[in-house]
């Protein structure tokens, strides 16, 4: 995972300037900001708006439209649990609900120790080995509560 860089306005401005002349610059700028800071800081929104000469509401609309743009820092590890039909039919919802309650968080939230963020995803194309998930970009299949707990342990230790 990237090491989180604290908010730095001049660094953000540099990133914006580096991408602003691209066609359709909004998404490349937002990706680059997230790459740097790990999320899209609220402070960046007016800077992006000004650079693109659009309103801050419009930037907000873009950021919130794409689930993968974060509005706050994620944990050190990200687990995306599939909530689509195949995984639902294989007991995914119950397993996820129980797992979240063991962690003490809700969908989209991060554990208090910043180790793990749990997010929803709607189909990873792994229906044959449902319930499935993706952990830091790696696909996982045939999940069980034990496997999930093991993941959570691993996340805390690394």
């Amino acid at each position: 995972m990237p090491i989180l860089v604290p908010w730095d306005e001049s660094r953000a401005s540099e990133i914006i300037v580096a991408h602003v002349s691209l066609e359709g610059a909004a998404l490349p700028i937002l990706h680059a900001l997230q790459e740097e800071f790990g999320y899209i800081p609220e402070e960046a929104v007016p800077l992006v708006a000004s650079a693109l000469n659009i309103s801050r509401a419009e930037v907000h609309g873009i950021v919130t439209f794409y689930h993968d743009f974060r509005r706050e820092p994620a944990g050190r590890h990200i687990l995306k649990l599939c909530r689509a039909e195949a995984c639902q039919s294989m007991g995914g919802p119950r397993m996820a609900r129980d797992f979240l309650s063991r962690l003490g968080i809700s969908w989209g939230e991060t554990t208090a120790d910043r180790a793990l963020t749990i997010e929803s995803v709607y189909c990873l194309g792994l229906c044959a080995c449902a319930p499935s998930a993706m952990y830091d970009g790696e696909p996982l299949g045939r999940l069980t509560p034990d496997k999930l707990d093991a993941l959570a342990r691993e996340a805390r230790e690394t």
């Binding site: 309103s55 509401a57 419009e58 930037v59 907000h60 439209f65 689930h67």
Partner: protein, 947 residues
């Protein structure tokens, strides 16, 4: 009376001569090419169900309620996004469509509260109407699933509430903010089920929202609703009238419950505003019934006495006897009057008539003296008439827009929205202003050239632009040869071609790089239709008239006058400042800008009014005050103007007022000037009378009475009573009779009547036999004066200079939510956005003075000093500071000086040499002001002490 219902065609109707014939539900109809099936159906009176469509917005196609069947086409296309085609056969109702529509409504209602009876939109809800239209009887999905029913409200805006739980996410508000207002303050946040209308992460009050009300008007449900509607319920009748704020002159439907205004809704069919509004006209009208309104006439012997409430008869009798006494003792010319740019044409006409015929002198002047008198002078000299050349609609045809010394998004927001729309369509923009106004760069608008002029350098700048046009061969020779006086042109061309006017020669003086001036000049001259819009940043200078002539020269030389999309357009500040000038408010002119020395005109007035009139021009406001200080001018009748706050060098104004023996104020509030008055005659707001206002595009709009005058008399009735008491008889039973007299005596108004205004909605003068329905664009085939006249515009710098004592230049302006001296807007919740006047100062100037953001500072000129709060802003250039003059207690005009335009005495508000330094207490003037404010406004026991 009933509510005025406007037809909503669902999509805009294209303007084209091409027609397309089709059949809808068996009826044939021919419509403009490009019309949507939905709008074509509405032209037949056939309403197709819709939720996301409105004819103020482009078609969107999201609600899926307007589906229709078209023979020969598969499926059920949305009628809003489907343009008509020749021979098309459309069915708007069928069993299949009914099922589809009911199904769609069922989905909407499954996530919508069922509280119609207690909902604020009850009786005015399109969702409710559609549920009825499609016959929704049940919602099979139930209400147990996830929903937005518990979403919280946003009540941060003082005028409207955002009830998220009632939102159907039709995007009408988002699109209205983008397409109509051009602010882009709203968006749809998230996607899918999580999609919600959002102000971008902040609440409405703190967001980019400018409270224009376009979203509230566009909302088909209760989601965005006026707080007044929430409090009072639906109105029962409406009256069309004209806003009394700026010179845009928006037409509103005053929606009423009895004599109570429930809301003001902009009228779609109005030419000036086409259904749009701003925060002032739409929401800030509560001042009209504010508790500070004075509704009893009052008199006092001395200004240090408390006011005594008296009957109308006694107050008017006192005013008349005082004026007669003063004239008997000090001579005919020792009294005068000031007409109001806030009152109607009819009222203004009566005041100047009272002065000329009742007082028997020409000592009448008006607020335009301090704003656009140079416009009148400069445009009359060059083109032949004292008004802007275009209608507002013209901006939609402009390819290059030049904004000089104006801040349209703050000062004329509804016109600015039209301008921004054209800019988003690709028109180029040049902004010349010492302060970086929002238009220079705001969402989706960016100036091609921003020229940060040093204050006071306008004429050197416009000469440099003209120099480029002439020396680079960019003059439109054919146009000049055909339409202008060639001798004048040639001497002007020789004058302007001189090297001393070149951008390089004046670069340092004006503070703008020569290359930018050359670029802007080339763009203006070669970019297609080029239109100049300007404001008080042009006129309020010691060379204001020269600058107006300089712009006229430039427009003539490039052929940019006389058709749509071009012209020279003053953005006039007040609702009826154009009208007050038209009505003969200046000491040297009768109505229609005819000089008092013109024998034929004067004889016509003398014959009609039955009294001899003076052929010598009377006193201007500054002369009246000077003569008062000298002891020769003793009495003044002021209708609706607050010179003690609005005019420059406040201490001199007050000295003049204090030196008079009888000052009569007619106003809705006990304003600053009234502190120095002896008779107070209660005025009536625009809601309380009939009449007309003329806006910045010469458009005469009707003002209609929606409630009786609070003080029992409308302003025109008060002037009549005063005139009759003075012994000059006036006899009108309705303002329409005054307009009939104006039309009879004024050639440019000859065709104006209330009957015509009621029939056409409005007309733009000249309106006469040659132009019976008025004149949108002037100087079409030839200039009003015959041949266009080029004037030599030598740059003579102001005498106001910076130096070691006063090293900075102060320039003044205004902001969106407050209006002029603030008498009205300060009595509304608009003050939540702007509680005090603020000094804007560049970081460089702030740092060298140790000033931090928010510090109290002293702003001092050779005229006086005030204390106010500073904010550090890069809108300013180094060396220039800026403030507004909305708050009497700040006293911005204590600082401004008595320098003025050489031709018209328009004060030089825009250039004052000042010093700024940190302080921790109010200035001496402000302390005196606070002390006197109470003592000079005391109202003692009178006829009705229990008021």
């Amino acid at each position: 009376m009933a509510l005025i219902e406007e037809i909503d065609y669902g999509t805009p109707i294209p303007i084209t001569d091409q027609r397309v014939a089709l059949t809808i539900d068996g009826q044939s109809v021919s419509v403009p090419a490009g019309t949507s099936v939905m709008a074509a159906a509405m032209m037949l009176g056939t309403k197709i169900p819709k939720l996301c469509a409105s004819d103020s917005l482009e078609a969107f196609g999201s609600c899926r309620l307007c589906l229709v069947e078209i023979e020969g086409r598969r499926g059920t296309p949305a009628s809003c996004t489907t343009p008509v085609e020749a021979g098309m056969v459309v069915h708007t109702q069928s069993d299949r469509l009914a099922d589809l529509r009911r199904g769609v409504m069922e989905l909407y209602i499954s996530d919508h509260p069922l509280d119609c009876l207690t909902c604020s939109a009850n009786g005015d809800c399109e969702l409710q109407d559609m549920a009825g239209d499609v016959g929704l009887r049940e919602v099979r999905y139930g209400y147990e699933g996830e929903s937005h029913l518990s979403a919280p409200n946003d009540t941060s805006n003082p005028y409207f509430t955002f009830e998220d739980s009632k939102c159907i996410v039709c995007s009408r508000c988002v699109r209205a903010c983008e397409e109509v207002q051009g602010t882009f303050a709203l968006t749809i946040q998230g996607r899918g089920f999580a999609s919600r209308v959002s102000t971008g992460g902040l609440d409405f009050f703190n967001s980019e929202c400018v409270s224009c009300g376009a979203c509230v008007q566009a909302c088909p449900t209760a989601t965005l609703n006026e707080n007044k509607i929430i409090a009072l319920g639906q109105p029962e009748h409406s009256v069309l009238t004209t806003c009394a704020y700026c010179g845009v002159g928006c037409t509103f439907k005053a929606e009423m419950k009895g004599n109570t205004v429930v809301r003001m809704v902009p009228y779609k069919d109005a030419k000036a505003n086409e259904g749009h509004s701003c925060v002032k006209g739409r929401f800030a009208w509560g001042y009209a019934t504010h508790k500070d309104r004075i509704i009893k006439p009052m008199i006092r012997e001395k200004i240090t006495d408390p006011w005594r409430e008296v009957s109308w008869e006694e107050a008017i009798g006192r005013a008349a006897s005082e004026f007669k006494r003063i004239q008997a003792r000090y001579g005919r010319d020792s009294v005068g009057g000031i007409t109001s740019s806030r009152c109607t044409n009819e009222e203004t006409f009566l005041v100047q008539k009272l002065v000329r015929a009742g007082f028997g002198n020409n000592n009448v002047d008006t607020v335009a003296r301090v704003c656009h008198s140079p416009t009148g002078y400069g445009l009359k000299a060059t083109l032949g008439t004292s008004a802007g050349t275009q209608d507002f609609a013209s901006v939609a045809h402009a390819d290059v827009i030049v904004v000089i010394g104006a801040n349209p998004t703050d000062g004329h927001p509804v016109f600015a929205s039209r301008m921004k729309k054209r800019l988003r369509e690709g028109a180029r923009l040049i902004v010349a202003d010492p302060r970086r106004i929002d238009l220079v760069k705001s969402p989706h608008v960016k100036a091609d050239y921003y020229l940060p002029l040093k204050p006071g350098m306008n004429v050197a700048f416009i000469n440099a632009i003209a120099h480029v046009v002439v020396t680079e061969g960019l003059v439109n020779q054919d146009y000049v040869r055909e339409r202008c006086d060639l001798n004048d042109f040639e001497s002007w061309a020789r004058f302007i071609a001189d090297e001393r006017h070149s951008p390089e020669a004046v670069e340092e003086l004006i503070g703008v790089p020569a290359a930018d001036v050359r670029g802007a000049a080339r763009l203006y001259a070669t970019g297609g239709n080029a239109a100049i819009y300007y404001g008080l940043g042009v006129t309020e200078h010691s060379q204001g008239s020269t600058m107006v002539m300089g712009m006229a020269n430039l427009a003539m030389a490039t052929g940019n006058i006389g058709r749509a999309g071009v012209g020279i357009n003053p953005l006039r500040g007040q609702n009826n400042v154009q009208g007050s000038c038209d009505m003969g408010s200046f000491p040297h002119e009768f109505s229609g800008y005819r000089h008092v020395s013109d024998e034929a005109t004067r004889q016509m007035f003398e014959a009609f009014w039955g009294v001899p009139l003076q052929k010598e021009p009377g006193l201007r406001i500054p002369n009246m005050l000077d003569e008062a200080c000298e002891g020769t001018f003793k009495g003044l009748y002021i209708q609706g103007e607050d010179i003690a706050q609005s005019d420059p060098d406040t201490q001199h104004v007050i000295a003049g007022l204090k030196a008079m023996e009888c000052v009569v104020i007619q106003d809705i509030f006990l304003n600053e000037t009234a502190k120095y008055a002896h008779v107070f005659l209660p005025g009536s707001s625009f809601l309380e009378k009939d009449g007309t206002f003329t806006n910045a595009e010469r458009r005469i709009n009707r003002v209609r009475k929606v409630m009786p005058p609070l003080a029992g008399r409308a302003d025109w009735e008060v002037t009549i009573a005063l005139s009759n008491a003075l012994g000059f008889s006036m006899n009108y039973s309705h303002p329409s009779e005054i307009m009939a007299e104006i039309a009879r005596l004024t050639p440019t108004f000859a065709g104006v009547s209330y009957a015509k205004l009621d029939a056409l909605g409005s007309v733009q003068w000249p309106c006469n036999e040659a132009a019976p329905t008025g004149t949108p664009v002037m100087h079409v085939d030839h200039f009003v004066r015959g041949k266009g006249r080029f004037m030599l515009t030598e740059f003579v710098p102001t005498q106001e200079r910076t130096g070691p004592r006063f090293p900075l230049i102060l320039t003044t302006g205004r902001i969106l939510t407050q209006y002029n001296v603030g008498v009205q807007t300060r009595r509304t919740q608009n003050s939540l956005w702007h509680e005090e006047d603020i000094l804007e100062i560049h970081p460089f100037d702030a740092e060298s003075r140790g000033i931090r953001d928010g510090d109290l500072v002293t702003l001092e000129s050779r005229s006086g000093a005030i204390t106010l709060r500073a904010i550090i802003s890069e809108r300013m250039q180094p060396g220039v500071v800026y403030t507004t003059f909305h708050h009497a207690k700040t006293g911005a005009n204590v600082v401004t000086t008595d320098y003025s335009d050489w031709a018209t005495n328009c004060p030089e508000y825009k250039v004052t040499a000042v010093q700024v330094r940190r302080t921790n207490h109010p200035s001496d003037w402000q302390e005196r002001f606070l002390a006197e404010d109470q003592s000079l406004r005391r109202i003692g026991a009178g006829l009705d002490a229990a008021k």
